[in-house]
């Protein structure tokens, strides 16, 4: 009869002050996450190498108009004689880098503001939280639409609008996490040792909040892509003749029976977003013990 062993995560006071997160691999989410990573990687490569792989110039209007796929083109041509396939590939180089940029910046701004709010508390906390309340009082797309329209329709303004709308969730999350950690032993002892606020934040708190933030960010990339392409669909993002997936679908509405015009850009969005969402799901299962399926157990009544 062996004694059931109990492991505890020891915090080594001499080394980096963080708990190594326990990694659990979900039975389904892990393989799906890997598949997602493969697809995402593929699309990232497409985004980088689009100019090299596209068979035609995405802006050139020299092919036959509104040709269905198969007659020499992979995905057909649009109403101005442009190759849809090349435009889809080119669209990746527009949407994916911008979405990644959007998420990175939202995380940075949100995490910094959230940390400040959580760490310093009082009126700083109140102020920042009221601002997040205000932004979150609108549904995301609506507010982004309003801001993008006010700033003037351009891809850059769309990204800016999306950024303004996206940072609050990170601020809220970070603030919550920081508040939770602020009273913990090693943070307090650090402060007693004379750590400045910045040092405390950087050394003690930051490594421990990375996990949940990372999970939220990875699930947010898909949202960012949907938001940016949605704004372009509304005409508030990429301007013609830029090949962007959302605006391509918008153009497709006019030429309804040319099904290939709308199908492929939308499929592109779908596959990229699904890929990143699977990655995010796998990360969440790996890092968050509660959301996972523990020991394959269920509940029979």
């Amino acid at each position: 009869m062996t004694l059931p062993t109990v492991t505890t995560d020891e915090i080594d006071p001499t080394r980096l002050r963080w708990r190594r997160p326990r990694l659990r691999l979900g039975r389904w989410s892990a393989p799906l996450g890997i598949a997602g990573a493969a697809v995402a990687l593929l699309w990232i490569l497409v985004a980088i190498f689009a100019p090299l792989i596209e068979p035609h110039d995405p802006l050139a209007q020299n092919l036959a108009i509104l040709q269905a796929p198969g007659h020499g083109t992979f995905m057909g041509t649009d109403e101005l004689g442009r190759d849809v396939f090349s435009r889809v590939l080119s669209g990746a180089s527009v949407t994916i880098p911008l979405s990644l940029l959007l998420v990175v910046m939202s995380v940075l701004i949100g995490a910094v503001l959230g940390s400040i709010a959580g760490f310093f508390g009082r009126w700083v906390d109140e102020l920042i939280m009221r601002i997040t309340d205000l932004v979150m009082a609108f549904p995301t797309v609506i507010l982004a639409m309003v801001i993008a329209a006010a700033l003037g329709a351009s891809l850059l303004n769309a990204v800016l609008a999306a950024l303004i709308v996206s940072w609050p969730s990170y601020a809220r999350l970070t603030r919550g996490l920081v508040l939770g950690l602020r009273q913990s032993n090693y943070v307090v002892s650090g402060q007693l040792l004379g750590f400045s606020a910045l040092k405390s934040l950087w050394r003690d708190i930051a490594p421990n909040i990375l996990g949940p933030i990372l999970v939220l960010a990875s699930l947010d990339i898909g949202t960012a892509i949907l938001l940016l392409s949605g704004l372009s669909f509304l005409g508030l993002g990429a301007k013609p003749p830029t090949a962007e997936w959302g605006s391509m679908v918008s153009d497709a509405v006019q030429n309804f029976d040319s099904w290939w015009l709308g199908l492929f850009p939308g499929l592109a969005i779908l596959t990229v977003v699904v890929a990143f969402n699977f990655i995010g799901d796998a990360l969440r299962d790996a890092l968050d013990p509660k959301s996972n399926t523990l020991r394959g157990g269920g509940l029979t009544l």
Binding site: R27, S29, F138, W259, G266, T293
Partner: protein
Amino acid sequence: MTSNTAVRTVPEEKSTGTVRAAHPFVRYAVRRVITSILLVIGVTLVTFVLTNLVPGDPVAAALGQRAAEDPTIVAHFRAEYGLDKPLVVQYFTYLGNLLHGNLGVSTTTHNEVSADLAQALPATLEIAIGAIVLSVIIGVVLGTVAAYRRGKVSDHVLRVVSLAGLSVPTFWLALVLYYVFYFKLHIAPGSGRLDSDFNAPHTVTGLYTVDALLAGQLDTFFDALSHLFLPVLVLTLYTVGLLTRFVRTAVLEILDQDYVRAARAKGLPTRTVIWSYVLRGASIPVLTVVGLAFGSLLSGTVLVESIFSWPGIGSYAYQAASHLDLPGIMGVGLLIGVMYLLVNLIVDLLYGILDPRVRIA
């Protein structure tokens, strides 16, 4: 498609000292209403700032290029909106206008924005209500099933499917479904709320289905219903994924609670445990998600309505956005913002009814 991960927790009872009522629920309700009013003011502030922050001349932005070239119109505009006065005064003029229902004039339709919106709103409400009711029913059922079968194949399948559902671009889904069901299969009717040979029923609620029933016009009722099919389907598919995931998480947490185990230990039949204990416990977090889903739904209408030529505020927003009709866009933004706040207020008030810890000291 929302990054609004504002998870609501039942607010703590803070001793305000200012509002004293015999009933703690009244105190709670009043506090929530005051917060909502403050948020509405904040929302108007946001739209005001955005209108005036437009790079370039706000006059041109509000009136459109051509009108801005006419000095009389410009002067009148400046006077009416007090553009020569300090910003604070301008804000109060703006607020005053809002309270009178004056949202400006659309640069595309050339109607009063408030009139346009009033006409468009019922159409959106018709599909929004249909979609939210369907999504909640399906989402709660699927989410609960997934939670109960946690770890088994059906749970995983549901999780993957709902994740895929969350990943679909709504506007594309609308297009694809419209093409398949209307264009190719001829199952669904074409665009708009009614076929061309039908007239709209006498307006009582603005919801064609309800009004047709009230007027006893069954043919119109069925036609309106069939036109609802596709838009509601798209919006439902869009929201169901979100709801299933959240309900699953909420129910999982409830299943871990001691009171569920205690209920089983009492020998209560499974049906009773699920209905009276589990779902009641999950009702509050699920309600939170429904509030969030509604916001997501409103966003969805903007992306979807135009494809079905559905004359709601979504189409209006789409039109306003693509023509850079600022009064129109601001009007829609304000309306949807207020609607969302109202829904969340109702959700918060329902907490008070559902959770005795809130309504009884």
